[in-house]
Each structure stands twice: as C-alpha cells, then as structure tokens.
C-alpha cells in the first residue's frame, strides 16, 4: 500500500464521494486499535514478567533441613558446595529463620528444645544435573528436601502464561471484530453506491477497478481510525507506564515493555489498516461476483 494508491486521482475520488470520518468505520477502527494496543501491551508485559520470574528461578533450588542444629547446617553447606554443578550456596541465617518462625508461632513459641529448621539456597550451573545433585544431598542428609524454586512459582507462572494467551486471544477477537465491521461498512458502501457500480460495470469497468475505489476509501478511513486509536493508546500507555514504571522496574528487574515490544505495538495500527484494506477488497469482490 503506497501513497499513490491511497491518494488515487482526483477523478477517482469524485466517483465515491463522502470524505473520511463521515461514516462509523474510522471510529470503530479507532476504538478497536486502541483496545488492541492496550490489551497487547498488557499481554506483552505479562509475558515479560513471566519470563523474568522464570529466568530468575530457573537454576535455583532450596535444600530444607528439619533440624539445622548440631553442626548439621555447616555439614550441609560443605556437602552442597562440593556437589557437581553447584555454583553458589547461601544459608538463611538462624536468626532470620527464628524471626520468621516466631511470626507463625508467636513470641517465645519457639523454645530452646524445639529444633530450628535450616534453609539453603543453591544455584546450579546451566545444564547441571539437578536430579543427581538432589539425590546426592538426600543421601548425605537423610530427611532433607531438595526443591526446585521453579516448582514453587509454577502456579504464578501458569497464571501469567494463561493471561498472556488470553491477551493474544482478545487481540485476535478484536481483529476479527474489526474485520466484521469492515465487511459491514463495505457492504453498506456498496449499497449506497450501487447505481454508480452498475453504471461502471455497464460501461466496461472490471471488478478490480470497482473494488479498488472501495478499497481505497476504506483504507483511508482505517488509516485515520488507526492513527487516532494508536495515538490515544500510546498516550494511555505512557500515563499508565509512567506511574508504574519504578515499581515495575523493581518487581521485574527491568521495564515491563522492551524496545521490541514497542515496535510490535507500533505495528498494530499498521496491521489494522492492512487487515481492513484486505477484508474490504475481498468483501467487495465477493459482492460483485454475485452480479453478472
């Protein structure tokens, strides 16, 4: 689609009168583009967040000891550090464990005779055999549990992925609704200009010549609509993103949307215009095929 196609000749523009913004098409496309961009931005942010969370815990494991006293914690630290593929081990300090447990058991609830469990955070090298490490630690420290942190956050990751797919589905549904609106607009325009089409056909115009007029008109409407929707969505994203950026940076360890995401979002209005133009062409050609 180029400028010459959109502009057409003066005579071609005169054939189908009625400027842009006169019918509902630009407004429908503006609303759809706005909604698609917001939903797509949310979907991309969720996908990024899921990626950050999954990436952060991908190689992290926890070793739980029911009782860290009597030198068991130190022994666990030594064994863990010597395990193949383990790159880092950190024990949660006993004071921290006690204060955490006191939140559950109440002040003084944790007497001197109750064992204080120990917790070790292990980081494995990419490609390390976590199963082998877990088996080795279980053998060395009976009663211990070796847990992948990914398993802990799996429900959250599942929810984030489901929301991302929901966003994709919503964008596709809105694209379908836009197409349906364009089909209705094209049929309406065909009805409005039926006499012009009959005359054009009668004096030798091809379906392609007629379709091009409608395609151009709807492309212009779609372009205006997509521009309005796109600008409003960008403004909304700036306002929403500006307010939550600092928090999002802190939570996710980076901005919720990356450069490639902005590029993708910027392409959505272009895709909406292309879709509307294509749908208009097929709708018009389909309708013209029903006449002689």
């Amino acid at each position: 689609m180029n400028a010459a196609f959109l502009a057409g000749t003066e005579a071609e523009r005169r054939l189908l009168p009625g400027g842009t913004l006169r019918g509902p098409t630009p407004y429908v496309i503006a609303i759809m583009t706005f909604a698609m961009m917001i939903v797509a931005a949310a979907g991309l942010a969720l996908a990024n967040a899921a990626g950050v969370v999954a990436g952060a815990v991908e190689h992290r494991y926890v070793l739980q000891l029911p009782d860290g006293g009597g030198g068991k914690l130190e022994a666990a630290l030594r064994t863990s550090r010597s395990a193949p593929g383990v790159t880092n081990v950190e024990a949660v300090p006993e004071d921290e464990m006690r204060s955490t447990l006191e939140k559950w058991l109440g002040p003084g609830g944790l007497g001197n005779d109750l064992p204080v469990p120990a917790l070790l955070h292990l980081e494995l090298a990419p490609g390390a055999d976590a199963g082998r490490v877990g088996a080795m630690l279980s053998r060395a420290m009976p009663g211990s549990r070796f847990i992948a942190e990914q398993a802990t956050v799996q429900p959250l990751l599942g929810s984030l992925r489901a929301l991302r797919w929901l966003a994709v589905t919503l964008v596709l549904l809105m694209a379908a609704a836009t197409s349906a609106a364009v089909v209705l607009a094209a049929r309406g325009a065909l009805d409005t200009h039926r006499s012009t089409i009959e005359v054009m056909h009668g004096i030798g115009a091809t379906d392609q010549q007629v379709a091009l007029l409608f395609q151009r008109k709807i492309a212009l409407d779609a372009m205006v609509g997509a521009l309005i929707g796109g600008v409003l969505a960008a403004a909304a994203l700036l306002v929403i993103g500006g307010g939550g950026l600092a928090m999002a940076n802190e939570l996710a360890g980076g901005p919720p949307l990356r450069g490639s995401d902005f590029l993708l979002l910027a392409l959505l209005p272009v895709a909406a215009v292309a879709l509307a133009t294509l749908v208009a062409r097929f709708a018009v050609l389909g309708a013209l095929h029903k006449v002689v």
């Binding site: 006499s195 005359v199 004096i203 030798g204 115009a205």
Partner: protein, 254 residues
C-alpha cells in the same frame, strides 16, 4: 481461470471465419426467477454496420432484449454471440472487454448524480485507461456537439430531462463503440434535439458503428432511410407489418 482460458481458445478458433454479423441470437430465452419467459425463442442476426430499430408495445421485452445485447444479463437458454464470440457462458472477467465495445443509452439515463456532466461523459474513457490530458479534448468536443458545452460542470440533478439524456448519449458514444444500444433515446428531448441525435447516430453508423435503438417514435424510424426493424410482441419476434421496412436479417417468427 480455466473458463477464461477455454474462452480465449474458443475465440482463437473462431477468428479465422468471416464476421458478417455483430450479434447473433440462437433460440434465446430469458426469464426472471421462476416466472414465465419474458423473451422466447429469439433467432436473429444483426449485421455489422447496420442500423436497427427495436419496436413493440410496452412490456413486449424491448428493455430485456437490450440488456442481453449490452451484456447486463445472461439468457436462461439459447446462445448469444457478440463480435463473433459466443458470450453465453463467457466467464464474467472477460465481459468488461466486450462491454467497452458497446455504448449504452439507458432509458433512465443512469447518470452518476454526484459527478459533473463532464465527468459522466469522461467515465468510459477513464475506465479504459485514458489520462485526463487525453480525454479533455474529446469530452469537451462531445459536450459541445450535444449542445452542453456551457453545462460541463453541472451535476445531473441540476440538468433538465433533455439535458440529462444528451449527457447519457454523449457518454455512450464518446468511446466510439462498435455497437450502440439506446433505449428510448429521444423520449425526453424536443423535436429539434431528436433530429440532431438521430443525425449523430446516423453519422456514427456511417463510421461503422452498429446501432440498435428501442423506440416508440415512429417519426424517428421514418426519418432513417435504410434502417431495419425488429418488432417484439409478448417476448417474441413478429413479422414486420406492411408499414415497416427492411425486416431484420434472419428474423424468424415463431
């Protein structure tokens, strides 16, 4: 696409033969929906360069016959050849090429209301790909010929019935069609303009255009020496009466 190829092949095989007729109807019938046939068993040939009047009472099927001629409808039975090609079942994407060789003056003019007289007349040339520079002269000339040089920028709703009819005629003849089909072309014009239009048709005919005019205007027929007559009654061709001259070539009563 396959139908278009088959049609092209059929055209190539026919090109070798002599083309004495521009239109050939062979047992043509037409019905709308499930109703009775409005045209029945039409068998006739129109010679290239001929001048034909199509007459008959209202409701006889004149407009339907003209619609078959300018390819706005397909027959429900029989065969129609135009320009030496059988177009009965021709794929629709080849029809525009043939329609561009036919000029049509519609009974209700069918001018595009929002276009100026100039743009209405220029439309066939624009459709055939002429640039604004190429069509400017011929369109102005044609408008002058039909007496509407000073109304070039007027839109149809501001034109009188007669003026609209002249714009319709100018549009039909601007591309010098091989076949001109006119449905009551003098119905809304005064006697002087009717004479001028007839003169235009005759001039076009002398240049080789085959003319088919549906009319009730007996005077028009009388003023056209050499014209032949096709008379329709209740959808069938009838024998010309004694008052009518030169029955159409090959016309058969059924």
């Amino acid at each position: 696409m396959a139908r278009r190829r088959a049609h092209a092949k059929s055209c190539r095989t026919r090109r070798g033969g002599p083309l004495s007729a521009i239109v050939e109807f062979d047992s043509v019938g037409l019905r709308y929906g499930t109703g009775a046939e409005v045209l029945r068993d039409l068998d006739f040939r129109l010679a290239k360069g001929g001048f034909y009047f199509l007459t008959g009472p209202s409701g006889a099927g004149k407009t339907s016959l003209l619609q078959l001629l300018y390819l706005a409808r397909r027959p429900t039975r029989g065969r129609i050849q135009l320009f030496g090609q059988d177009l009965t079942d021709a794929p629709r994407d080849v029809l525009p090429d043939y329609r561009r060789r036919i000029g049509v003056v519609f009974q209700d003019f069918r001018l595009i209301r929002h276009l100026s007289a100039f743009d209405n007349v220029a439309l066939p040339l624009r459709i055939s790909g002429k640039s604004d520079a190429e069509l400017e002269g011929p369109v102005r000339e044609m408008l002058a010929w039909v007496g509407l040089a000073d109304r070039a920028s007027a839109r149809p709703p501001t034109l009188s019935g007669g003026e609209q009819q002249r714009v319709a005629i100018a549009r039909a003849v601007i591309s010098q069609p091989e076949l001109l089909v006119a449905d009551e072309p003098t119905g809304n014009v005064d006697a002087e303009m009717a004479a001028r239009l007839l003169h235009l048709f005759t001039a076009l005919n002398r240049l080789g255009t085959t003319i088919v005019v549906a009319t009730h205007d007996v005077g028009l027929i009388a003023r056209t020496p050499g014209a032949q007559l096709i008379r329709l009654e209740k959808g069938s061709l009838t024998d010309p009466t004694g008052s009518l001259r030169n029955p159409p070539m090959g016309a058969q009563a059924r």
